[in-house]
Structures are given as C-alpha cells and as structure tokens.
Symmetry: C2
Subunit: 161 residues, 2 copies
C-alpha cells in the first residue's frame, strides 16, 4: 500500500474543516426495538465538476461512497460508527476547526463500544445533543429527551435490572 | 519569525480548496482613465463563532483583513495583486482542487507586471474571462469585450503608437 504523506493528511484535514460536515444524529427507526438509531456520518459536498477531487480523497480515506445528485452537486458520504471513527482518528492530528467535533465523536464511540445497553444509548444520545449544538443545528426534532420519552412509554427505561 | 511547517501549509491549502474563493474581477471604476480595474482577491467565509480560526490562518498568510458581517458570518479577505500572488505562491505546492485557478492567476500577474500598458490590460482581461469560467460565475457583466468597447469608444484602443 502506498504511503500517505503527513502533508496529504494535513491537506485532507484542512479540506474537511473547510468543506466537510461531521454529523451524529438520533434517527427514528420504526423497525428498531428501541425506536432510534445513532447515525454517524461525514459528508463532503462539491460541484459535480469536482467529482475527481472527491474520488482522490476517497482513495486516501478508504471509506464511504460518492453520489451525483441531480442538482449539479456531488456528495461524498462516509456512514457508520466504525468508518467515521477510523477516518477521524486518521486525520485527528491535523484537524483544527472541528477538533471539538472529533473529541465528542470519540466520546460517543467509546460509550457505544462493547455490548449494547439502553443506558449506553441514552448516555450517547446526550452527547449527540451536545454534538448538534456544535453544528448549530436548529431544526433538530430527535433529542435525548425524545428517546427517553419513547423508551419510558414502552417501559424500557429507566431500567431496573 | 517562527518556522511554518509544511503540514501547516498543506492544511491551509486544503482549507482554501474547501472553503476559500480565489477571484479575479474586472471592476468598473468611473474615476479611472481606462474605466476598469482588475481586482484580485481571496476570501474565506465562516460563522463568526469560528473567527479565531480565520485569525489563525491570517497569522500564517500574513495578508488581508477580517470583518464580521451583521448576518453571523465573518469574512477573511486578501485583496490586491501583490498580496494574492504572494499567498498563492506560498500555498501552491499543496493546492489541489484550485490548481488551475492558481495557474491562471500567475499568468494574469505575469502579464500585468512592469509598466502598465493598455495592451497588457486587455490581454489580462481576457484571462479574467477565462478565470471566471473556472468559478462558474454567471451574473458577470464586465468581460474583456466590455473593456475593449469602453476603450474603443474613448479612442484608447486599438492603440496605434
């Protein structure tokens, strides 16, 4: 495998800080027993004319997929905890503006590691709340409170075992 | 003066590719004898909460000024041929997506160097046309044709000396 230079990593970290979006979202899933999923993603958006640049970045990050939208834009998306955390750890030494995003992401990942429990999910959902404040997300509907209400309604939380 | 690491330069080049805008514009100036000025600029836009990040980049690039707009955004702008070219040459080894922008910028700068002549200005204005195609600018009014028409109308071009 070709060696990746530190300047290449630093370049991609700068590009992520300028163009990328790191997201953690609490997503409603009607087919899930706990009603919600925590979704991790990194997205880059560029005009489709720059698709080759996104493909170059994908060759470096080795995760995700590229999709042309029908409005002249192309999205490069990395979805899933494992992939997102691997990419963030790889770029972490050089990320500057989104450094806090990376730290909260690693906390969410650490909480969710190992065997799944409802307590872990509620704790992680609270970090997702904090995360979305970093992204200034205003139209957010699913907060940790919504999750807790759902779990309480279905007698899944608080747990007494 | 503190040494600037190659990874720092690479990071800033990535941030410029992701967030920055390199522009060359033909600007109408009623107080100018030739009616127009070629304006070079580099602009970064971030939410005002990230002003400190733009200040950090300004300390590296050593040119330009930072201004808070009243819509929650902050602009870091570098204006003027000399400053823009210095910054682009400094970052050039690491710029990827906007590499073509840098090449055209250096051509415009080379044409305009030395003693000012109308021929040089017309030639540079043609490169500015090419430049604005790179930026997909659609609402552009001032093209090299507009400049040539203005100069012809004022009997300044074509030159017969």
């Amino acid at each position: 495998m070709a060696k990746i230079f530190s300047t290449t990593k630093a370049y991609v970290a700068g590009f992520l800080d300028g163009d990328g979006c790191i997201m953690f979202q609490l997503v409603r899933r009607k087919d899930y027993i706990y009603g919600f999923q925590i979704r991790a993603s990194i997205v880059f958006y560029q005009k489709t004319m720059h698709r080759d640049h996104l493909e170059w970045i994908k060759r470096i990050l080795k995760h995700g997929y590229i999709r042309d939208r029908n409005d002249g834009m192309t999205e490069y998306t990395i979805v899933g905890f494992k992939s997102v955390i691997e990419v963030l750890k790889f770029l972490q030494p050089y990320i500057k503006m989104k450094r806090e995003h990376v730290e909260v992401a690693l906390k969410i990942s650490a909480i969710m590691s190992g065997k799944f429990t409802i307590e872990k999910m509620v704790k992680a959902a609270r970090f997702v709340d904090q995360y979305q404040q970093l992204n200034y997300s205003k139209k957010r509907v699913n907060t940790s409170k919504v999750l807790i209400d759902f779990l309480a309604e279905h007698k899944l939380y608080p747990c007494n075992d």
